[in-house]
Every structure is written in C-alpha cells, then in structure tokens.
C-alpha cells in the first residue's frame, strides 16, 4: 500500500542523507520524495511516498521520529488530503498537430511552457492518477521527455502539519 508521509526537519546539512539512508537500510521503499523549505527557513518539509504494509508504515514513522533532526512526522490520509505532482511533458508536435494537442492541454488545465517547430512542452499539476491519464492521451504524438517532481500533499480544511 502507498503511504504519503509529511516530515518536518531542521534544515541542517546532511538531513536528507540521513533520511534516505534510513529508508535504504531498513528496507523501506521510497516511491517519491519532494523537499522544500517551509515558511520558516530553518525548517524543511520532506514529503515521502512509500510503499509497504501498515507494520512497515509504523516502523517508518517511529524510525523517522528517532532522527534528532526530525521535528514532526505525519502520515496523510488519502480522503482528507490533496496531493499534487508537477510534470513537464515534451511531445513531438508539427504545426498541423498543434491545435489538437492544445485542446488536450486545455482539458487538462495544462500550461504551454515552450513551443518550437517540432515540439511542444506542457506543464501540468495534478494527482498522480490524472497525470497518468494525460500522459496516455499524449503518447500517440511521441513523448520526447517527461520530468516530474515527487508528490507533495497537504491536508484539507484547518488541519496542518506545522512545527
């Protein structure tokens, strides 16, 4: 099962290595990882999507909490949180295909980030599942490159993971 874990850490050197090392040596699988500072520049948020049983998730949370630099660990529930990935997709695009691809972009609420005689690059932010759908729609045009960030997630309503 996939779990989305929001981790607040002290913005110290080596924190990411510690967390990555912990996952590797305890045999936890990371699906994606996203890191960025929070509104407090001394604190970073690491959002991890990990795969494993409930037992594994409990171990991940407990072991993360043992790291001195980790301030808070919270597993976000699917139904009470919103998760997003950002993806940049470069597809082959002749001038004749442009209108077609742009209509897909419109449905997907994608931004056109770059355009050339032979390519078009779309910028999309959505849930992982929706992104997979759009990817399939674009595949026939020839995907030249896909770059995606790890998942970031936030709880709905008042709930917040803060220091």
């Amino acid at each position: 099962m996939k779990h989305t874990i929001s981790v607040l850490v002290e913005n110290n050197a080596g924190v990411l290595a510690r967390i990555a090392g912990l996952f590797a040596r305890r045999g936890f699988n990371i699906d994606s990882l996203a890191v960025g500072v929070t509104d407090d520049e001394r604190v970073s948020r690491i959002t991890i999507v990990a795969d494993g049983s409930d037992y594994t998730l409990e171990q991940i949370e407990k072991q993360l909490n043992k790291l001195i630099d980790v301030i808070k660990v919270k597993t976000l529930k699917n139904d009470t949180s919103i998760s997003r990935e950002l993806v940049l997709i470069k597809v082959g695009c002749s001038s004749r295909q442009r209108a077609e691809i742009m209509s897909i972009a419109e449905i997907a609420h994608a931004k056109i980030s770059d355009i050339s005689n032979t390519t078009i690059t779309l910028e999309l932010s959505d849930s992982k599942d929706n992104l997979a759908n759009y990817e399939e729609l674009l595949r026939p045009y020839g995907i030249k490159e896909i770059v995606r960030t790890g998942t970031i997630a936030i709880q709905k309503g008042e709930a917040a993971v803060r220091v």
Partner: protein
C-alpha cells in the same frame, strides 16, 4: 553569559571538564593534534589504547559502570574508521558515548586528501546522532547537545567530527547551562491510561512474568524492578543484557531466557499468561525459544517507541523512562497479589546443569566458571567476550549486586579486555574480570599493554580450546562436522604472552589448579591472567 577568548581545541577540553569527564580513551594522529596539545594542559586522564576500536570498547565499559556518557577519541581517516565497530557495538546495546574524531581541513573535505574519510557518513547507521563541526562558533552548543543526546532517552553513541582548522580557530567560549532541542524531547513518564491497563492486566494475571532487559541499568531501574516483582510476587527471567539486575539467588528468579538460556526461564516464557518486558529489545536470539501464542498479554515498557511491537506483538505499550514508569506502576498497584502455584510450577522446572569432570589435563569450563564465581566478591564486574566462553560465563556466574557486561546486540569479538579496562578505570575498587576465548584473546591481547601502562588492574581469563569454539560447534551440528577455518593451531601459550607484558599468569588444567589460580588472581593487586585448558570439543548446547 561571560565568554572567554580561546581556541576551539581548548574549548573542547573545557567542554569535557564542564561535563565532568575525568578520563578519556584514545589514540592520536595529526588531524587531532591541536586537541591533544590542549589535553596536555588539563588533569583529564588520557588512556592510550593500542588500537582505536579498543578505545571505543573501553569507553563503553566505562560508561556502563559510571552510568554517564564516556569519551573515545581518534584521528581522521584510518583512526576514525577503526572506531566504527566499537560505535556500532555501543549503538546496538544503547551505551552512551561521545566520540571525538579529527578531520582534514574544512576546505579540503571532499577532495580525497591524505587521511580523509567521511566518518559522519560511514558511521551514520550506528550513531544516535552526529555532527561535522564546521562552524567554530557552534563548538559549545554541539558538545552540550552531544552529551545530552548520548545520555538521555534511549542512550547511544554520538559522534563529533572536527576539522583541523576548526580546532585551531579562536572563539568566544562559554559553556551553555541550558539546552533546548525542539526535535528531541524523550518521554519520561508513561501514559496514565496505559499504566491503568497494565495494572488491570496484572491483577487478572494468574501466571505473570517479568523479562528483565539491559535497559534496567539506567537510573534506579534494576532496584525498582526488584521491588515491583516483590510487591506483586512476579517471577523474573532475564535477557543476557539484563543479567545481574535480579540477584541469582532470589527465589523469584528463574534464569536467562533464549537460545542459550536455561530450561526454567524458557518454560516460564512459554507458559506465562502476562509477559512484562522491561527495557528488553526482544532480540531474535532472546525470543528464539519462544513459541507463537495467542493467549498471551504482552506489556512492553521501553524508552524507545520504535522497539515496542518491532519483534513481538504488544497489547499494552508503555513508552517512558523505566525508573519513572516503574515508580508509577508501583504507586498504582493495589492489593499485593501472590502467585504460589505458578512459582511452584516454575520451581519444578529448575534443573541443575550437571558438570561432568573433564579428562586429565583439562577442566570442564562450567566447573571452572563455578570455581571462579565462588571466589568473586559480590560487587564484581564480569565482562564476557563472544562465543562459548560467553555462554559458559552467562550461565554459571552468579550475581549479588555485581554486573555482567558483554556485547549483546552486535556480538563483537574482542570486546572483553578493553571494556574491562574501561570498567576498571570507572570503578578501581571493584574486581573486574575479562573472560574470553583463545580466538577473541588474539583480537585484543595488545591491550594488556594499556592495562600495564595505566595501572589498570584487570584480571583476564582465556578459555583455550584451540578453536573458534562457537563456530566449530555450529559446523559440527549444522554442517556435518566439516570443520572449516576454525582451528587455532599456531597460537601461542597465553601465559607466556602475559609474562612478556610483565603480567603474572597461571595455567589451569585441573579443578585443583583452578582453585589455586583463582585464589591467586583474586588476591593479586596487579593484572593477572589465567589460561584455562578446555577440552577441544566441549559444547555449549548439549
């Protein structure tokens, strides 16, 4: 705060003094020289070991007896790397230590210069926390935090790696009085609701059992556990790390559990209805003799939430400091209960491990341990190495207020002599005995020089069977007796090695010789070594 201008190297010694450190164990080299040069100006006793790993083990022995974080020091690169096994050994057994290593100059880090090693990176899996001290101004805070982190919560080793140029830098120094790490606040008291549930479970229990672990040796854990067991009339078994927490001759004590444990302890674990784990990690070797059961209520009390439920399903988890939680439990206990029927059942399972005399020229190792045990003062510290010798010691040494130190989690050969040196340095008035095999002795015999040089009068027992006995036993049973790479042919006479260091020694090849030698060993106020002739194919599991 009033500050004083000084070098970081001097500030490091000031930090150690402020932490009450009077003895350190180490091995110098170029990258840590500024610090050693400042050590020259202090009264801190530096014990020069003969290999860095042993400085780490000695600090471990010192910490386990003093109850406070102990300090080991090494230079950059090979010196720091040599410490890793000791760091990992301490980590597995939750021993509080602060490790100080020299590092190459800050601007050279990452360029593979002479004697550079990424020690914070390489030791990461085995430290509670580590610092690469790049900013000289952080010195005081880092030391304060390091000692606090090492000695609080679930204790463990903390590493401070300090580049050469940082040691030489000047700072305005003052040692902080307070500490606040927002991301590190270990719990003390157990959750009230869980305490209530534990009390209810205990009241309903007909066959309760306490499993005493190594975590009891912090604070007043061991004595409170004894009171708790007494008030509620609960039988006690021990893990190897918990040996000594309960006196061996206490009528409620049923011995050590596990793969190498005794019958009554393993019977108790498999027949209790309520198991109270106190500061025990529930390691695989400890529960190997335990059958899976659905009718068992498990109460696990530990300072580290990550240990609870890791290896055994737990019904009532209590996270907290054992001294605090046991205090809460004792206070919350209602009417004293008694469990005579259960104890009678367990008493019937006690068996006296019979000793068959060895053939001429040898002594049965259990018999030797019992002769030694009789002669030992009550408060002695016995440090067992790893292997058959460890099993014989654990099963036959009795405890009446003394301690048993061993590398429980990592099973690191070569632990006993350096750890004994550390333990003796921390408690010069106690008899401290290292027991090792002939294999492990040869991993650490260089430390006899350390003992002599620093007047640390440890006693050493070498159980000579001319084999890596424990592995040989494994090969005999599990590999059709195909003995591979376990013979120690070519080894020296160990009494001669001792004599070469100026240490008095005796060879024991009969029970009579054992009686005489053990008397000599106890009455000597200098280091003393006994080489014990053990029959080559003696086993631990019969």
């Amino acid at each position: 705060m009033n500050t004083t201008r000084m070098t970081v190297a001097k500030a490091m010694t000031e930090c150690l003094k402020a932490e009450g450190i009077s003895t350190v164990f180490g091995y110098p080299g170029a990258a840590i020289c500024p610090f050693y040069d400042e050590l020259y100006n202090t009264d801190i006793r530096h014990i020069l070991v003969r290999h860095e790993v042993n400085g780490g083990h000695a600090a471990s022995g010192y910490a386990r007896i003093s109850g406070k974080p102990a300090v080991a020091i090494a230079t950059s690169g090979p010196g720091a790397l040599n410490l890793i096994t000791a760091i990992a050994t301490a980590y597995m057994d939750s021993i509080p230590m602060v490790i100080i290593t020299g590092q190459v100059n800050t601007e050279q880090i990452g360029r593979d210069v002479f004697q550079e090693a990424d020690i914070t990176g390489s030791a990461e899996p085995f430290v509670k926390h580590s610092y690469l001290l790049k900013n000289p101004e952080d010195t005081a805070r880092v030391f304060k935090e390091a000692f606090y982190i090492a000695g609080s919560g679930r204790r463990g080793p903390v590493l401070i790696d300090i580049p050469y140029d940082v040691q030489k830098a000047e700072i305005d120094f003052a040692y902080p009085e307070t500490i606040d790490i927002r991301s590190y606040r270990p719990s003390t008291y157990g959750n009230g609701q869980q305490i209530k549930r534990a009390i209810t479970a205990m009241e309903q229990a007909v066959r309760p059992l306490i499993c005493a672990g190594g975590g009891l040796f912090t604070g007043d854990g061991a004595s409170l556990m004894r009171r708790f067991a007494e008030v509620n009339d609960i039988p006690v078994v021990s893990t190897m790390m918990g040996l000594g927490a309960m006196p061996t001759d206490n009528p409620r004590y049923y011995g050590m559990l596990g793969m190498h444990g005794c019958k009554s302890a393993n019977y108790a674990v498999n027949h209790c209805d309520t198991l109270i784990l106190l500061g025990a990690r529930v390691g695989d070797r400890a529960i190997s003799a335990m059958e899976a059961r659905s009718d068992l209520t498990v109460i696990h009390i530990d300072i580290d939430p990550a240990e609870i439920g890791k290896n055994l399903a737990v019904d009532i988890p209590i996270v907290g400091d054992l001294t605090a939680v046991l205090g809460q439990l004792i206070e919350a206990c209602g009417v004293p209960t008694e469990h005579s029927a259960w104890k009678n059942e367990l008493d019937a399972m006690r068996s006296d491990d019979k000793v068959t005399p060895a053939k001429d020229g040898y002594i049965n190792p259990k018999q030797f341990m019992r002769i030694l045990d009789k002669a030992l003062p009550d408060n002695s510290v016995v440090v067992a190495d790893v292997g058959q010798n460890q099993i014989w010691a654990a099963a036959n040494i009795t405890f009446h207020g003394g301690r048993f130190l061993t590398s429980g989690g990592m099973g690191t050969m070569g632990y006993s002599i350096p750890a004994a040196i550390g333990a003796k340095a921390a408690s010069p008035d106690k008899e401290v005995i290292a027991i090792c095999g002939d294999g492990s002795f040869q991993m650490q015999m260089m430390e006899l020089a350390t003992a002599i040089q620093h007047d640390i009068n440890i006693k050493v027992i070498v159980m000579r069977n001319n084999y890596l006995g424990m592995v040989r036993e494994l090969q005999e049973k599990g590999y059709d007796n195909r003995l591979t790479a376990v013979s120690l042919d070519g080894s020296p006479r160990y009494t001669k090695i001792a004599e070469a260091y100026g240490i008095e020694a005796a060879l024991v090849d009969s029970p009579e010789a054992a009686e005489t030698a053990v008397k000599q060993l106890i009455s000597s106020d200098r280091p003393f070594l006994i080489e014990v002739s053990v029959e080559e194919h003696e086993k631990t599991i019969l």
